[in-house]
Every structure is written in C-alpha cells, then in structure tokens.
Symmetry: C2
Subunit: 254 residues, 2 copies
C-alpha cells in the first residue's frame, strides 16, 4: 500500500506495453499532439473512474516504438489485473498500443527510479528499394553497409565515457557521462540490427550513435575517425541523427 497524504491509501500496478510510435508525439504528455501516456490515462479513467498519473520508465521520442515498455500507476480500488488488461486493450483503440500485462506490484516499485538497465534495438533496412512491409518500422538505407566494421567501431563505446558527441543539444541530463553495458550489431538478410543496453541514455544518444556508425559502415570513416569523434566530446564532430522510426525501446530490467 502506498500512502498518499492527500488521498489516502493506494495500490500500485505495473504495465508492460508494446506500441507503434508513428502517430504519437512520444511517451510523455505534450501539448502538440497525442502521447502514449495520455491515451493510457484516459483509458484508465474510463475503466476505473479514477484519475491517475501513469509513470513511464523514461521518455521516448515521437515515432519511436516500444516492445516491452514499463509504466506504473496507483489505484484506490483493487482491480483484477487480467480484466483490467483486457479493458485497457479495448479502450485504447484505435491507437496502436497493446497492453501485454498488468501486475500488482509492491509500493516501492517505480517504473523509472527502480530501473537498473534499459535496452534499445535499432533496425536499418539495407536495401536500394524502399521499405514497404517494414514501412515506419526501419530506417531504409541504400548504400551497402559493412556490419563488421560498424561493430568494431561500436566496441569503442563500451563502458564509461563522456558521450557529448552523441548528445542532443536539448538534452536535460546533468552529466554527459554514461556507461554502456552492451552495444552489438548484426545482420539478418536485409536488416541490420543494433542492440544497446545501459542504465540510462542521453537524449538522442542511440540515434546519434547509429547515425555516426553508418559513416563507418559505408567506408567514409575509419574506426580511428570514430574514436576521434568520441574523444572530441563535441556533437558537431559526430554523424547524423538516425530517424526515429528505426528505434525500438526493447525492455527494462529491475
């Protein structure tokens, strides 16, 4: 039970979600469009008659997808998790959000602050032809990319670094220093995948990393050029920001 001084005792619930980021301004409520958070809060109000805030594990940009995103909220009344899940799936329609699981969790669980590690997947469709069945699901990139070279350069980012080169100018984090636990690229037929994992990320960090790695993949940069860019700690020395549509929030570990 969570004690809320204004309203009394609350029960905490954890949500696991998949969403297609295409129609959203991102996870977080904003005044310029529909957010995933807002759709969920509205569905919860309809279904439970309680006005509750939904806390996400972190922001995602407009157009970024999620496979196993986690959020939490508190309710005054106890709800059957299975029924709540089914009701929410019906109520969020036609927005492309799937509620995969609703679970009762202990009071000290916090979707954002309890997180130990988050991971993202980035998908590049490396073909001359446009993405059709994968439209809005990948970054279609026409020039041939050498995944082995991208992987060799990417390994320089493992561990603790000042990631200023890959940090958006709008980033609100106090420090540009982050620790990357994993970064790995592989190809499956026409698709190149990148998986990255860290406790937390800077704004646009993943999209700036993969955008810069394409310079290595197409042979414009060597691994050493990539190292120099990292060491410059300067966004203007990095490569382009890859489009949001190729990025997936994968999962979060608690």
């Amino acid at each position: 039970m969570v004690l809320n001084s204004k309203k009394g005792l609350y029960l905490r619930y954890k949500l696991t979600l998949e969403y297609d980021g295409t129609p959203f301004v991102g996870w977080q409520v904003q005044n310029n469009g529909v957010s995933v958070q807002q759709v969920l809060e509205k569905a919860l109000l309809t279904c439970t008659k309680e006005q509750t805030l939904v806390y996400g594990t972190g922001r995602t940009d407009a157009g970024v997808h999620a496979l196993d995103y986690v959020a939490h909220f508190d309710l005054k009344e106890e709800c059957d998790s299975y029924k709540l899940c089914a009701s929410l799936n019906a109520l969020v329609r036609p927005y492309p959000i799937a509620i995969k699981k609703v679970e009762r969790v202990s009071d000290d669980f916090h979707a954002r602050f309890s997180a130990r590690q988050r991971s993202y997947i980035y998908k590049i469709q490396n073909t001359r032809w446009p993405a059709v069945l994968n439209m809005n699901r990948v970054w279609q990139y026409s020039l041939p990319l050498n995944v082995d070279k991208m992987n060799e350069a990417a390994s320089l980012l493992l561990g603790k670094h000042d990631f200023s080169t890959f940090r958006d100018s709008q980033c609100q984090a106090k420090s540009p220093v982050k620790t990357l636990d994993e970064i790995r690229l592989w190809r499956e037929e026409d698709i190149i995948y990148m998986r990255v994992a860290a406790r937390s990320f800077l704004h646009h960090q993943v999209r700036n990393i993969i955008g810069t790695l394409t310079l290595v993949g197409k042979g414009k940069w060597t691994r050493d050029d990539f190292r120099q860019a990292l060491e410059a700690c300067d966004r203007t020395k990095g490569g382009p920001t890859a489009p949001a549509m190729g990025l997936y929030f994968e999962k979060v570990m608690y």
Copy 2:
C-alpha cells in the same frame, strides 16, 4: 527477342517485387479496387511510354502480402534495368510496392508457366493482446497453440492428395489434386510461422490449411480428426479460413 505478330519484336523483363497487400484487391486487375498489376502497368506506361501487360506468377487474394513475387512484361525499346527499377519505385508511390529487381530475361521465360515451385509463409501472433507493431501483418490468435501438435497433423498433407477439404468453392482449378513439397511450422517467441511449398496451390488452400490446423493447435481436434477431414475431401469438414493479412507469398523457383 519475342515475336509478337501484331507489334513486332519485344524484349522481355522480369520483375521481383515486395508488396503490402493491405490496400489492394489482390495481384490481378479487378473492377472493385486497386490491384498491384494495375499500379505496375500504369507506372510502366508513364516511364516507358509503352502500354504493356504485366504477367504475374499467380493470383494473390486481397490483403495477402508478397516478399519476392515475380512478374514479367515485354517492351519494344531496350531499357537500363537499374534505372527502370529506380523509376518504377518512384512512380508506384504512394502504393506500398517495392520493385526489388528488374532483369532482362530470355524470351521463353514466363512468370507463371515457367514456375517449378512456389512457397508461402503464414504468420500467427499467438498473444492475448492485439497485434500493434504487426498490425495487418499477422493473424492475432489469443488461445495458446501447440505448435508440435500442429506440425504432426500438418505432416499428413505432405505429398500428393485430393485437397478438396481445403479448397474454396470459388476455386477454378480443374483438379483438387495437388502435391505439397513442404509444410513446416515453428515458433519464434510470440510468432508461429508456417512455410508451405508446392508447384501450385488451390484457391484459399494455405489459409484453409492453417485455419484447420489451429483446431489441432488449441486441442479441439486430434491428429486423427485432421486426417479424417483431409480424407473426407469435403470443404464442410475442414476448419475456418484464416485471414488474408497473415499470408505472404514468399518466392517462386524457376
């Protein structure tokens, strides 16, 4: 060179295509909506100034997708295949068709009649929650399916059989007898895949097979029930027709 008595000599081209079947009435030109064939013929007319027929390797139903569909057409003037491919990709927009390859082929190549084997993939998303990132790309099926049991039943279909139980009443084939070279199901996380290969298929054959296999997968039918349905050679003894959106024309062998 192909000799056409009305118009003279022609050069034959082979197309390899991917398409999202969602907005189409199917491959073939029909008077109740837009077909893939029609979009391609219009694009070819714009780009080559020649009115040409595009011959597909076979019909696909409304909503059915294609990964490596093959078609051919004839042109009077020689075209650079690479440029033609790029032009067609630009001209078919905004329809979700990707021209993966254009190739000059010999006169005796025929997309339909030269085919030795065609294959299809069917995708079931076996989850309680709706398909979101896979919307219109899978059949979302809520009840748990036992893939091993589906595979055991499916193996009864291998080889030459009278497939009347899995044949649509509108099917125009002369005989219900077909030879299935491959049928195989497997699961990758939430998705169940079925791959089937044969020289040719009856109308709705793949969708009726997978629809009937779900009866086995959910435990309503045994392998023996499935065998009896096959042996009845009667569509009314088969299971439901699975939705088009889970079906992909995979490829064709020549």
